[in-house]
Amino acid sequence: MRKMKRTTVDAIISYGIVTIAFIIAQSMINNGAMTRALKGQMIPICVYIVMAVSLNLVVGISGELSLGHAGFMSIGAFTGAIVSTWLLGAMNVQNTTVRLITALVSGGILAGAAGALIGIPVLRLRGDYLAIVTLAFGEIIRSILNCLYFSLDNGQLYVSFNSPDIPGKLIVSGPAGTKAIKTISTFPAGFVLILIALFVVLNLINSRSGRAIMASRDNRIAAEAMGVNVTKYKMMAFVTSAFLAGMAGALYGLNFSTFTAAKFKFDTSILVLVFVVLGGIGNIWGSVIAATLLTVLPELLRAFSDYRMLVYAIVLILVMLATNNPTIRSLIVRMKNSVQQKDGIHQAQGGTER
């Protein structure tokens, strides 16, 4: 039998762990071993995992700080809500799975298209200027969605800007958000979406394109000198990330019968960025774990009631201080090295540190 590549083995282990976690969570739901509040968190956890993994592609792998990731999520959420309602109302598609899949895919495609459109000006800039422009785009998307009205009348979809006077039943009504959308998101769908996101991102990272993306991150000039088309590869990471965020957004939107554009504020982009940074920049697994823990954490801190967000903030600061403390850092590196030496793997030190 041909020996599999190490990255393939790692990827298969990743999918396996996610599957096991899903089975455990699902059986806990079936046995009633989970509190209602925690059960309600299951789909948001899936959404945030996909958001964090996709943002990590831009921040960690491509090395550009994006502060507008929630914008793509909101495009996906609104597209998903409109598409699924339209399929039900105009096309009479009763099957929820078909509607959910169509909604997710169309949400992803529209968000990806927006990503491509935004990527053209954004990726010309560097560093903090790029960050502020992504922030600006996130806010622009939110403001525009705040002014859009969609309605469905006899199978015909109507759109208007800044005025609710359109025939039929409103699906999206400006600042009041979506109206009476059928909630068709399911936890298994979230699980499948996580697998898709992991599959896409892990395969991209370990491909020729992924190496080109990381080369442009590590040294743009050297990569360009080697003939790497930096803009093309940065764009590839950006659009893929937007596409996945759009799918996650569609899943998120279809989990609520009503939501507003205000849900996808700057704060949401920051929340996802916190997952990425706490999980370890460029570490896909870290993103998954951080997104899960930090979504559950406010729920676990319920004992502190009023103080829980305060405690959350303190935990966040302390974790950042601890993980960046030189003493603790060197301790972790030493521990890692001793473990690796036991395994007989002698790896060059510091190669993965950034």
């Binding site: 700057f266 916190v274 966040l316 950042m320």
Partner: protein, 295 residues
């Protein structure tokens, strides 16, 4: 025409508040190379202090603003010591997330102390309105105060950074930390001083913001003006004091004009769209120095 003038003055007044906040942002960025996302929340704390001193202690507004400046300065120094200083050698993203943590902390602490109900902020400076053009053009005293405060602060800061020893030290540290240290400059103290000045400006901005455009004070009051001021700082060229001044004024005027003539809902989108267009043509902001890349 009168309406246009009125909008222009409102815009300049709002822009002056942005400019004062942006100055703090810009100075901290210039010296510590970090986006201090907690800056907006220091504005909020400053406004709450002014409110408390005026309402609960019934002190005159002047003393209230002074108290807010003192509290915010100490708060700024404390935040820098406890949260940012240990991370000085770390990656900039780690510092950014810590700043976000500080921002959450301040907002939630304010929520616990003062509650989520809006506090109605009474103006710190109300001596009637200035009437011009046969009483058609009314300019509030707060607007005039804000504009005057902005100009005084801007001139004061440029003089401070170009004439005084401490100011020169600040410029030296922002240019090259290592070389500044070799020249005998106490880098840590200089950075603390920058945070202190930035936070004091934030306190003034908080009092002015709540006196002019935002009379309902809630724990999240500072976040949107904070983001706008950050935008203004980038707009003018981050790290540059005149840049923050011009960026803030332009942003305020554009916002008010967009609200008046185009659409209230879209005003934020227009402000950010202008920012993007400016950055496309001048990637380092209006007054920013383009950085040459060396291989």
């Amino acid at each position: 025409m009168v309406a246009f003038l009125r909008y222009l003055i409102n815009g300049i007044s709002l822009g002056s508040v942005y400019a004062i906040i942006a100055l703090g942002y810009s100075m901290v960025y210039g010296i510590a190379k970090m986006l201090n996302f907690a800056h907006g929340d220091i504005i909020m704390v400053g406004a709450y202090i002014v409110f408390c001193v005026m309402v609960y202690l019934s002190m005159p507004p002047f003393l209230a603003v002074l108290a807010a400046i003192v509290v915010c300065t100490l708060l700024g120094i404390a935040i820098e010591r406890l949260a940012y200083k240990p991370l000085r050698q770390s990656a900039s993203l780690a510092v950014l997330i810590t700043a976000i943590g500080v921002s959450y902390f301040l907002q939630n602490a304010a929520m616990l102390i003062w509650g989520s109900n809006p506090k109605v902020f009474s103006s710190v400076f109300n001596v009637g309105n200035l009437r011009m053009l046969n009483g058609e053009l009314v300019i509030s005293s707060e607007a005039l105060l804000t504009i005057a405060a902005n100009i005084i602060i801007m001139i004061g800061l440029t003089q401070f950074t170009s004439r005084t020893k401490m100011g020169k030290a600040m410029r030296a540290v922002s240019e090259d930390k290592g070389a500044a240290e070799l020249m005998g400059i106490n880098v840590n103290r200089t950075i603390s001083l920058t945070f202190a000045i930035g936070s004091a400006l934030a306190a003034i901005a908080g009092a002015l913001l709540c006196s002019t455009t935002n009379p309902n004070l809630v724990p999240t009051t500072g976040s949107m003006p904070g983001i706008k001021a950050f935008t203004a700082a980038v707009f003018g060229g981050i790290g540059s004091i005149p840049g923050a001044f011009i960026g803030g004024l332009l942003l305020g005027v554009i916002e008010i004009m967009a609200k008046a003539y185009i659409s209230t809902e879209l005003s934020d989108a227009i402000v950010f769209a202008v920012l993007i267009i400016v950055l496309l043509f001048k990637p380092a902001g209006l007054l920013g120095k383009p950085v040459r890349e060396k291989v």
